[in-house]
Symmetry: C2
Subunit: 346 residues, 2 copies
DNA sequence: CTCCTTTCGTATAACGTTGCACGAAGGGAT
DNA sequence: ATCCCTTCGTGCAACGTTATACGAAAGGAG
């Protein structure tokens, strides 16, 4: 406990002086290195506690680890990411590592690149990139320097680990559910393909393909319709408007993200359509918004916390060199049925 | 020069060699220091661009700035914080500073303290603490070491700058609005007082006091009722349940946070009460949730982005030593009326 | 043509930590 | 006693950057 005034930080040298040993000895204790007698360990630890010593991460960074992990978030507003983060936090709870997130606010490629560089420049030990918008080649370059886990994209690489969801299964659950309720005209609101991103397997691609397949499986190929208005409130609104004012409005809409589903709600309200009476609506991700009483949106749960925990675990394995081969883990989604879906015309 | 595996980073030395000058010269260019001829600046900058040089933040941290700003977030789920962050990001956009957030997930005091220490240990240049749960003395200690801005708490200090909202005004807007609609029995859902936090002026205190005053101003002192069930979905639910199943259920509820209002929605739905028919509901913060079509919650807008921008600006002033006296800025809220409030019995 | 300023570039010592290389005890085996 | 291991502690050279001190030109005033 140091008086705050203009006092200097407690350094390893102060500890060494106080414990009457060399700085190397203190460093050894700090690192659990070989060649420390119990007696010395004891003395050093006492001194550290007495002085309130905390290692200087920047200095550590110059030589090795900074014990810092960075998470790139496309948007802080997507509640699903919060679930992921809870998982990451949980996995890191009892380690020495600190977690810092960077969010560009916008999901612009340029901003994200700057953020990732900022993380690398600060010598972070590992990176978790959530659905990065930067080119795949860039990520592979980064991953060659720093252990990296990519969450969301289904493009594996020997350079980084992947944590994804079995999106195909999730889509099947939704379509089967809606068909089971009696719907046939089921439209899908998707995200536009980002040009030049080099990611072939973004979640929206998987979801889109799985949607078409599921429709085909039910003999509804001709009724399958996709609008690419985007995963955002505004995108959901525009997509729904287009669909619902078309010559043949669908009886059900499957939005590829909950956040887009909220836009569909808005469009339906404006058009005087009641949900689920006139239109059934399903989302994806089961974010906390879906669970809100006035929303009560049927959605696919991806167990975000579990994915986050897995990502953190994989990252630590890599950082601590307990594994050197890349890995892909895919978790199983399940459907949460709420009151936004019902038989058509109910 | 380097085999693919362990390619080294480009350092100031590489740039110096390539431009055929000393490292000091490169450093000078980097820092815009005095004593650099246009010719040399030109050559160095060309070399930097050619080699793709990026300064090593950890090394910088050992001597001075790290060009890193840390934001402490109590919870990543509160959409109001996202508004604040947008503002902070905007203010930092064209500076050299990178922004990293730390969120404990839980708002436990201990976790937050660890996070703040992690930021200080990483030599961050400035800290923005959003409604910190750690003891005030602790924050004052930190602020003596690192420039700090506190958002939310109305307890100013010479050690740090404060960015707050005129919460009293916001509350007046809500109560006046509800009274204007004809409500008299207006209850308030608040947050429990945190023991030992030493913050006397948390926003919920201001809001609570202002609520009582506003009720008194309308001659409704006896009808004023506060439950301290907490600013969370669950807290809103419990508080509303208590109020709505009491002997004299209120006709309107003013929730101190939008996130608590969503819990009130849930309670009302369970009790078969319609909003706004049977119960008017107002929130605080005007988060994006309030704007969702199925929610459409009347709420007080605090202009979060502006507050965030102000906080960042104040912080930069302090970091760059353009100001040394602490400052408090309070912005004016306004009411956003939506469809969750209506005359009683409408 | 001195002498005195500027101007501009370089040498160098930190900053706090790590990890290798080294050495001094102490303990067995011969 | 000699030699060789362990075990355990220390010395020291990095790591990439900043900032101070200093020297070498070049320019100006007398």
């Amino acid at each position: 406990m140091q008086p705050a005034g203009g006092s200097k930080r407690v350094t390893i040298t102060d500890v060494a002086r106080s414990a009457d040993v060399s700085t190397s000895a203190v460093s050894k204790v700090l690192r659990n290195a070989y060649g420390v007698s119990p007696a010395m360990r004891e003395r050093v630890q006492t001194a550290m506690a007495e002085l309130g010593y905390r290692p200087h991460a920047a200095a550590r960074g110059m030589r090795g680890r900074t014990y810092t992990i960075g998470v790139l978030l496309a948007s802080i507003r997507n509640a699903f990411y919060a679930d992921l983060l809870d998982g990451v936090n949980a996995a890191l709870r009892n380690t020495e590592y600190a977690l810092f997130m960077g969010s560009s606010g916008s999901s612009e490629m340029e901003d994200q690149t700057k953020l990732i560089h900022a993380m690398v420049d600060r010598q972070m030990d590992g990176l978790i990139l959530i659905a990065p918008a930067v080119p795949r080649a860039e990520v592979m370059g980064i991953a060659a320097e720093v252990p990296t886990v990519v969450i969301g994209h289904h493009d594996p690489s020997p350079a980084y680990d992947c944590v994804v969801n079995q999106d195909g299964t999730g889509v099947d659950l939704v379509v089967d559910h809606l068909v089971g309720l009696g719907h046939r005209d089921i439209a899908h609101v998707s995200h536009p393909t980002v040009r030049g991103s080099q990611w072939e397997q973004r979640p929206e691609h998987h979801v889109r393909a799985a949607y078409r397949e599921a429709m085909a499986r039910h003999g509804l190929t001709d009724l399958a319709r996709v609008v690419h208005s985007g995963y955002s409130d505004e995108g959901g609104y525009r997509g729904a408007m287009e669909l619902l004012t078309s010559a043949r409005p669908p009886t059900a809409i499957f939005a590829g993200a909950d956040v887009a589903a909220t836009g569909v709600f808005r469009a339906a309200a404006e058009l005087g359509l009641r949900i689920p009476g006139d239109l059934s609506l399903a989302g994806y991700n089961n974010t906390s918004v879906a669970a809100l009483a006035p929303v009560s949106l049927t959605s696919v749960d991806q167990a975000g916390a579990m994915m986050g925990e897995t990502a953190a675990r994989l990252l630590l394995e890599r950082i601590e060199k307990r594994r050197d081969r890349a890995v892909v883990t895919a978790s199983t989604p399940h459907l949460v049925t709420r009151s936004s879906t019902a038989p058509p015309g109910a």
